[in-house]
């Protein structure tokens, strides 16, 4: 029964606690809270502490703000805007400046590229010429005599490998 009563009190306790966290209670609210606490005396010390802590936190002083804070802030905003404007301008004008700076390098690069392409083209032409010459030579082979004449080629080739004449014997016979 006690437990049930305690659970029923819970929302009111939480509601009061959250009120105490946020702001100073009005006189009417304090009276109402006191009445409520009369039926929950066990919570009274805790709520006294809550209210006291709230008051203590309320005594924390504001950190002093320089009187020219806003004007300095506006100056900073203007500086920031001017800087981003400068960056945008630099970005817009930048491509032409970059182009002018890189132009000689682009020129040299282009000459090297063209020279390379021409050399490669010449090499290709030379290769094609060589191939043409080879094809022509092969075409000429087709006009040679029929392969039958090479029938005894190996025998004739072997005859050329016989020892040469004995020059000394020939000299003596003379």
């Amino acid at each position: 029964m006690e437990e049930k009563k305690s659970r029923m009190n819970e929302p009111a306790e939480i509601r009061w606690r959250e009120k105490c966290w946020r702001r100073e209670l009005s006189a009417a609210e304090r009276r109402e809270l006191r009445l409520w606490l009369e039926s929950h005396p066990e919570l009274k010390p805790e709520f006294e502490l809550e209210l006291s802590l709230h008051q203590a936190l309320g005594t924390l002083k504001d950190v002093s703000v320089p009187s020219n804070f806003t004007s300095r802030l506006l100056q900073a905003v203007e500086r920031e805007e001017a800087q981003s404007e400068r960056l945008a301008n630099r970005h817009r004008a930048g491509w032409w400046e970059n182009f002018k700076a890189w132009m000689p390098r682009f020129g040299v690069g282009a000459v090297i590229l063209v020279a390379g392409l021409l050399s490669y083209q010449q090499f290709q032409i030379g290769e094609r010429q060589k191939m043409l010459d080879s094809v022509t030579a092969v075409a000429e082979v087709s006009t040679l005599p029929a392969p039958e004449i090479l029938h005894d080629f190996d025998a004739i080739q072997a005859m050329t490998r016989t020892p040469g004449p004995d020059e000394e014997l020939l000299a003596l016979m003379k």
Partner: protein, 201 residues
């Protein structure tokens, strides 16, 4: 989410989006104090807090084009502030010599000049000063998420939903962070907190 018609800050932000510097100055004037307070209590350095606040507002101006009228301005602003604070804390953790936990020598010139318009007697001022110092120390010792949640909870213009949006966590997780932060503070500050008084006035 709040449309521009009902959130005057969102309406100002829409003017900033159109390049209106006067509207931007109006927003900066309104929010400079809470942002510097938050930054100071996150970084524990008054001059860095001021620089960070300026960075926050510059970021707001630069990101104006991405701002949607449907979002509440203060939530968006505090999200930017929190992110920049986290970046700064991470940067410091990479350079331990400048750590926020590094002890400061007295009279180092880093302590903020607080504005105090109240008139109190000398002993009371002394006690008050001690309490404030203890509260500042206790807040500084909280884990980052709890500290941010607690500090944002002090901002009138932020609801619990807004705080959870800034912290990028659920509503229940946000309330849990605030609860844990307050529990820690209550434990640490118990000897300094006045209890037993129940003033209806």
């Amino acid at each position: 989410m709040m449309p521009a018609e009902t959130d005057p800050d969102a309406a100002l932000m829409m003017r900033v989006k159109a390049g209106d510097l006067a509207a931007f100055a109006e927003l900066a004037d309104k929010y400079k104090q809470p942002i510097i307070n938050l930054a100071y209590r996150m970084l524990r350095d008054a001059s860095e807090a001021e620089d960070l606040a300026q960075a926050v507002f510059l970021q707001v101006y630069k990101s104006a084009a991405r701002y949607h009228a449907a979002s509440k301005f203060s939530t968006w602003l505090f999200t930017i502030a929190r992110n920049l604070c986290l970046n700064e804390i991470r940067r410091r953790s990479r350079h331990p010599a400048e750590s926020i936990d590094a002890p400061r020598t007295e009279g180092e010139g880093q302590a903020p000049q607080h504005e105090d318009h109240r008139t109190v007697s000398a002993p009371e001022r002394l006690l008050q000063g001690e309490l404030e110092q203890k509260i500042e120390e206790a807040i500084a010792d909280l884990p980052e998420a709890q500290r941010t949640a607690l500090l944002l909870c002090q901002q009138d213009e932020l609801s619990y939903d807004d705080i959870s949006e800034v912290l990028n966590c659920s509503l229940s997780a946000t309330k849990s962070l605030i609860h844990r932060a307050r529990e820690t503070l209550k434990q640490r500050l118990k000897p300094y907190l006045r209890t037993g008084e129940w003033d209806d006035q």
